[in-house]
């Protein structure tokens, strides 16, 4: 187990380094610069600024310098928002984005599994058709469309919930709903088909033959096996939710990281682009690692360490 974790840790570092390198050079290959915007800064000032941020150096030198600061967890200053460091921005934006992302993930997983199990148990019944209709809608309607519809109907027409911003739980409902519906639908469909398959397995008949209650048969014997394929897509879904937060944060004016990320790209704010990208990548790599661990826990046939032949 320990060797597995160490190996895995180094693999994660290498992945992250590749992402950093790729992003760094792609970013510098983009046309445009942080300073030629509509404000029309004078040539001299621009020169000074460029020198100040080391942008006059060869890209390779900048790259080395950047790696040096990164290993000290210093993401550098923001070019656009002077007097703020990227660490400041991340420190402020991350908790909000994290809250939105986590609440969404939990809502999507729980409701998706519940919907999927119900649909499977009432196979071809009313609940099944209802659940699968919701699922198809959830998969086919993009989250930004759903977000605008929700704002229009629930917030504006019915005045039930606030239109935007991020203050109380009431502010969280609409963005979470908009963001969670897609992943929930995917999880529900996957759970349903996987559950239907598991329910026909011999060991379910064995469980019935023991005289177990239907509840135990479903939740102890069937669900754990049915969730295995669901767990494998969780990594991808988490990634989807992450990127979804950019858009949703923008629509609902939520002060999370997504806003800085989108702005930074438009502004060519190099350190912020790098900082947020690295941060998101690290988060995602970590989530994928968690998924693998969860899979190993759920399925005893999968051994995290290779030894112990049978």
């Amino acid at each position: 187990m320990a060797t597995y974790l160490i190996k895995r840790f180094f693999a994660m570092i290498v992945t992250l380094w590749l992402i950093i390198t790729l992003t760094f050079f792609l970013m510098h290959a983009l046309p445009g610069s942080p300073f030629n915007d509509e404000r029309n800064t004078s040539e001299a000032v621009q020169k000074n600024l460029i020198a100040h941020f080391n942008l006059d150096q060869p890209v390779s030198v900048q790259y080395i310098e950047y790696l040096k600061s990164i290993v000290q967890f210093d993401f550098g200053p923001s070019i656009k928002k002077s007097s703020q460091t990227v660490n400041d921005l991340l420190g402020r934006g991350f908790p909000v984005s994290f809250e939105l992302g986590m609440v969404t993930l939990v809502v999507a997983i729980l409701s998706g599994i519940l919907l999927g199990v119900l649909a499977a148990l009432k196979h071809n019944g009313v609940i099944d058709y209802l659940a699968m209709t919701i699922a198809v809608l959830g998969i086919s309607v993009p989250n930004f469309v759903l977000a605008t519809l929700l704002i229009q109907q629930v917030a504006v027409n019915w005045e039930l919930l606030p239109v935007a911003t991020w203050k109380s739980w009431r502010h969280m409902v609409l963005p979470t709903l908009a963001l969670a519906t897609g992943p929930m639908a995917i999880i529900a469909r996957l759970t349903r088909s996987s559950m239907l398959e598991v329910l026909t397995q011999d060991y379910i008949l064995t469980a019935k033959a023991k005289g177990l209650t239907p509840f135990k048969i479903v939740f102890k014997h069937a669900l754990k096996n049915a969730l295995l394929p669901v767990v494998t897509v969780l990594g991808a879904l988490a990634a989807g939710i992450l990127t979804g937060t950019f858009v949703i944060e923008k629509i609902f004016a939520i002060p999370g990281m997504g806003k800085y990320f989108v702005d930074s790209i438009n502004n060519r704010d190099y350190p912020v682009i790098m900082g947020t990208t690295i941060f998101y990548s690290a988060l995602l790599i970590f989530l994928l690692f968690l998924v693998d661990v969860a899979y190993g826990i759920l399925d005893p046939r999968i051994k995290l360490h290779k030894k112990e032949g049978r």
């Binding site: 064995t206 023991k210 005289g211 177990l212 005893p300």
Partner: protein, 332 residues
């Protein structure tokens, strides 16, 4: 002998897109205390459906017990609601399935899978359940059961898994154990060990066993009595001796002729020609009529009446009728 289980005129049908499959059509047999009855017959003749009916495990829909009684301890299991059946399943009557590779849940330890039955039925503490599980594993011949309890099914061989499946079935000390082709998926040496285990367990616990198989070799090793099924009906039943040495029904004879024998050198293997009847539209008369070399006109129209050849030996064949005897005397 005391009758522990009585199946009377059992009918089971499945509603499918193609129509109604009459899988079991009037099966009647008794199970005595401490005996092993073997139900034999070709694939599709309704053996498993009969077994599942007793356990209340016929999936409904599409399946349904349309007629008949299953009497156990003064109750008719065919009419019992699932809630009541659940108390009997696994506790008083348990079942062993064919394939030990798929009959165990891959994500739960075998200890958990053995213990949960007794915890469900006897509401005992986990520590007591564990003690009981260790005893049972010892009984079914799993070495070092203590460390094995924490392992998962994939860490056992096929034969070991079947022993564990048997352990699950025995944990509540049932009075009846139904084994549906328990050795079909195992290789021959393991098969013999498992059959030995059945005899051993029966001696120690006095459990009555219904053994379902299409292998007459298995029947010869463990059965006391035999019921031969064909086309959803029992066509001949008797003690093992009677069935093996004085078979009466042409189908039973055919079955015996299709088994390799080591006692007669160069014995010819004669498979029974033809295919089993269509259960969507089963024949009104004898189900074997299409394949029977003695078939008479009456066989096609009217189901044969029961003929008693001995105390236990019953046959359903028109050849046994006195009228047939006179006209077929030479050929029979």
């Amino acid at each position: 002998m005391e009758k522990i289980l009585q199946v009377k005129n059992l009918h089971v049908s499945f509603r499918t897109y193609g129509g109604e499959v009459k899988a079991v059509r009037g099966v009647t047999f008794d199970l005595h205390k401490g005996e092993t009855i073997a139900i034999v017959g070709e694939s599709g003749c309704g053996k498993s459906v009969t077994a599942k009916s007793i356990m209340g495990l016929i999936p409904n829909p599409p399946g349904k017990i349309t007629d008949g009684k299953i009497l156990f301890k003064g109750k008719d299991l065919a009419k019992l609601p699932d809630r009541e059946l659940r108390k009997i399943r696994g506790a008083d009557i348990s079942m062993i399935f064919q394939d030990p590779m798929t009959a165990l849940n891959p994500t739960l330890t075998i200890g958990e899978q053995i213990m949960e039955g007794i915890i469900q039925h006897h509401k005992i503490a986990r520590s007591d359940a564990r003690k009981k599980a260790l005893e049972i594993l010892e009984l079914v011949g799993i070495p070092s059961p203590k460390s094995r309890l924490k392992q998962y099914p994939h860490q056992f061989s096929g034969g070991m898994r079947q022993r564990i499946v048997i352990a699950l079935a025995l944990i509540c000390e049932p009075e009846v154990m139904i084994a549906d082709e328990p050795t079909t998926a195992l290789d021959v040496t393991i098969q013999a060990q498992i059959l030995d285990l059945f005899r051993d367990i029966q001696k120690k616990t006095g459990v009555s066993i219904i053994l379902i198989t299409h292998d007459l070799g298995v029947v010869a090793q463990v059965a006391d009595r035999v019921a031969v099924m064909y086309g959803g009906k029992i066509i001949e039943t008797g003690t093992k001796r009677e069935i093996f040495y004085e078979p009466q029904h042409p189908y039973t004879k055919g079955l015996l002729n299709s088994v390799p024998r080591i006692d007669i050198e160069d014995a010819e293997l004669v498979p029974i020609a033809g295919t089993p009847p269509d259960l969507f539209a089963p024949p009104a008369g004898c189900p074997f009529v299409a394949r029977c070399e003695y078939a008479m006109e009456v066989c096609d129209r009217i189901y044969p009446t029961q003929t008693l050849k001995g105390n236990e030996h019953q046959v359903y064949c028109w050849l046994q009728d006195v009228r047939a005897k006179t006209s077929f005397a030479t050929k029979w």
